[in-house]
């Protein structure tokens, strides 16, 4: 039987992807409450994240056509007129193709542009290696003046819209498509430069971002059944980072595992490693992410299994780390 596919259902059937509908509604409401919210996107506006907004406020949506760099620089120009300009980009073609537009036109200039980086990580994995967006944390956290947020799930994503109000300059919001193990029942409080403490623990700490936070929470619950007390930190604020939370976790639990849907190069794990080294904290430490190699292609849940981005594998990595600690 043949089926017609919604052009934006990139991951339909691949993961239990319910969050997008809520974020779409939250964005529509945010637009309703803020007349100065504009959206610009390269041929992606009608998709699930912004479709409801576009439908209600078609005159506040500027379609840039399939020209990502132009979209990014136009957003910068529009923001100089006091608009809150959101750019909806596909992960692979936002942070990577437009890294320089983000740096020169948005971050250096400190214009209030909010980049919604959707379909990040392996969400578009079926379509080819070109569509993986697993270098974007490394790129964006290296850009001075850019705030980088990464919600763990749907509720966290909706909270990021109002949380970005805390920032006068630009914000990059890395949206995960995964809904493996939602972390929050309701939109959490987001404090810039802080990690969310999802679970207290004393035997070790798992710090996750995006899907990684979902896996961290799931793994800690598994390990609790084995009598292990694992702290879980949600690294939703990637720039600025929560240095104090990392230092406390190292001193109080003695072992840190990081988890991210991103290369092990330059992402959350690298950032946490820098903090540990800077503070002279020689604790058990491991980075769980995607290997620094040419990646394979497949549906997201197959890729998560292939690269061990599962609750079970995360728990196993933590067990191994704690074995080394003893």
């Amino acid at each position: 039987m043949s089926t017609m596919s919604d052009p934006f259902s990139f991951t339909a059937g691949a993961v239990e992807s319910s969050y997008v509908g809520n974020l779409g509604e939250a964005f529509r409401r945010y637009g309703e409450q803020n007349d100065d919210v504009l959206l610009i996107s390269p041929d992606l506006g009608a998709g699930p994240v912004t479709g409801a907004f576009v439908q209600q406020f078609p005159e506040r949506f500027i379609d840039a056509g399939i020209a990502e760099c132009n979209a990014m620089s136009m957003a910068a120009g529009m923001a100089t007129y006091g608009y809150k300009v959101f750019v909806l980009q596909m992960g692979a073609f936002g942070a990577l193709k437009c890294a320089e537009q983000i740096r020169a036109d948005i971050a250096f200039t400190q214009v209030p542009v909010r980049i919604l980086s959707a379909w990040s990580g392996l969400a578009m994995g079926f379509f080819g290696t070109t569509h993986h967006a697993v270098e974007d944390i490394a790129i964006t956290r290296a850009i001075p003046g850019l705030t980088v947020l990464a919600p763990a799930d749907d509720n966290a994503a909706t909270a990021m819209l109002s949380a970005s109000e805390q920032v006068r300059g630009p914000v990059f919001i890395r949206l995960t498509d995964a809904n493996v193990n939602p972390v929050y029942d309701s939109p959490p409080e987001i404090i810039l430069g802080r990690f969310g403490c999802v679970r207290e623990g004393s035997d070790g700490t798992i710090i996750g971002t995006g899907l990684g936070a979902q896996l961290a929470a799931g793994a800690a619950a598994l390990l609790a059944r084995e009598g292990l007390s694992i702290r879980v930190l949600d690294a939703y604020s990637l720039k600025p980072l929560d240095e104090a939370a990392v230092v406390d976790a190292a001193r109080e639990t003695g072992a840190i595992l990081t988890v991210e849907e991103h290369l092990v190069t330059g992402g959350l794990g690298s950032a946490v490693g820098e903090i540990l080294a800077r503070n002279g904290l020689g604790v058990q430490f491991s980075i769980h992410g995607i290997p620094d190699e040419t990646l394979t292609v497949g549906m997201p849940e197959e890729l998560y299994a292939h690269y061990g981005l599962t609750i079970e594998e995360t728990a196993q990595r933590m067990r191994a780390l704690l074995a080394g600690k003893r």
Binding site: A67, C69, M74, G77, T80, Y83, E100, T109
Partner: protein
């Protein structure tokens, strides 16, 4: 150097307002362009190096904009209702600084700091350092997109602002320029004017041999722009072109200004590539000054 901002007295009053197309004779603009060329040499003389030949090619364009076309307020670079000017070819910021000092956007004394460590007056313009810079540039190909964003935002705010973007002819090799050209026509940005400083030279050689850009006007026209081609060293022709550009409410306009790289200094006109970036000292500097002073307009 001091990080304090220029604070000219009474800088918010309407009597400092400089209206669009304010009367000035073409000959007076030519004379101001001559002075700007001398100022460019002076400003660069304070720095280890500077962009000579491509600054000299756009002297008449910049003078015509800042002394005739743009609606501005003297001493008030952040005035909300000013027209905007973006320097796509950011490497000629040195040509803006004397104009901005004259408009009292900052003190004349700043000119002597050009290119020095910590100076607000940099080789490429930075909107957070130098008052009067409407948007930073430095990476070629971005500013037409930024200008288009401003044009659409101004229209949305109900402002009659006009946005001008100066592009180098080598800059239009950048693909993003053509993304913006396409989008500006699509969105009928009649308040956007691009000026191409077609000085015919890139770093590697003549623009047309490095990467052909001709026929320039046909290319912009085919994307839906109104094009006006002029001698970019003829202030009268530039005045007429900018006046004509204001007639198009729903169509962006491109002024293709045919210019000479190094204009006004014979040894730079002969070797524009060698004088793209450099330092000018001693007898060479004096020779350059006297050629500019003695040139017939």
């Amino acid at each position: 150097m001091s990080q304090s901002r220029a604070k000219p007295a009474d800088n918010n009053s309407a009597h400092n307002e400089l209206p669009r197309l304010r009367p000035i004779a073409a000959g007076a603009l030519q004379e101001r362009a001559r002075q700007l060329r001398l100022d460019i040499l002076d400003v660069i003389s304070h720095a280890p190096m500077g962009h000579f030949s491509s600054s000299l090619s756009c002297a008449e364009i910049l003078v015509t904009l800042y002394h005739h076309v743009l609606r501005l307020r003297k001493g008030d670079p952040g005035w909300e209702d000013r027209d905007r000017f973006l320097l796509g070819k950011g490497h000629v910021a040195v040509a803006l600084w004397p104009l901005f000092a004259e408009l009292e956007f900052f003190p004349q004394s700043w000119l002597q700091t050009f290119g020095q460590l910590g100076s607000r007056l940099t080789d490429h313009p930075d909107m957070h350092r130098a008052p009067g810079v409407d948007f930073s540039s430095g990476s070629l190909g971005h500013n037409l997109s930024v200008g288009l964003g401003m044009a659409l935002a101004a229209r949305r705010r109900g402002k009659d602002h006009r946005i001008y973007v100066l592009l180098g002819d080598g800059e239009i090799h950048e693909g993003q320029v053509w993304e913006a050209v396409m989008a500006a026509a699509h969105y009928k940005a009649g308040n956007l004017v691009a000026i191409v400083d077609a000085n015919g030279s890139c770093a590697d050689g003549p623009t047309q041999s490095v990467m052909g850009i001709e026929p320039l006007t046909d290319r912009f026209s085919s994307f839906g722009w109104h094009c006006i081609e002029v001698d970019g060293h003829d202030s009268g022709a530039l005045m007429r072109a900018f006046a004509e550009a204001m007639q198009f409410a729903e169509q962006p306009v491109c002024v293709v200004a045919r210019t000479l790289k190094g204009k006004g200094i014979s040894f730079m006109e002969e070797s524009p590539r060698e004088w793209h970036l450099g330092a000018l000292n001693g007898a060479d500097l004096e020779r350059a000054r006297s050629e500019i002073r003695e040139a017939k307009q």
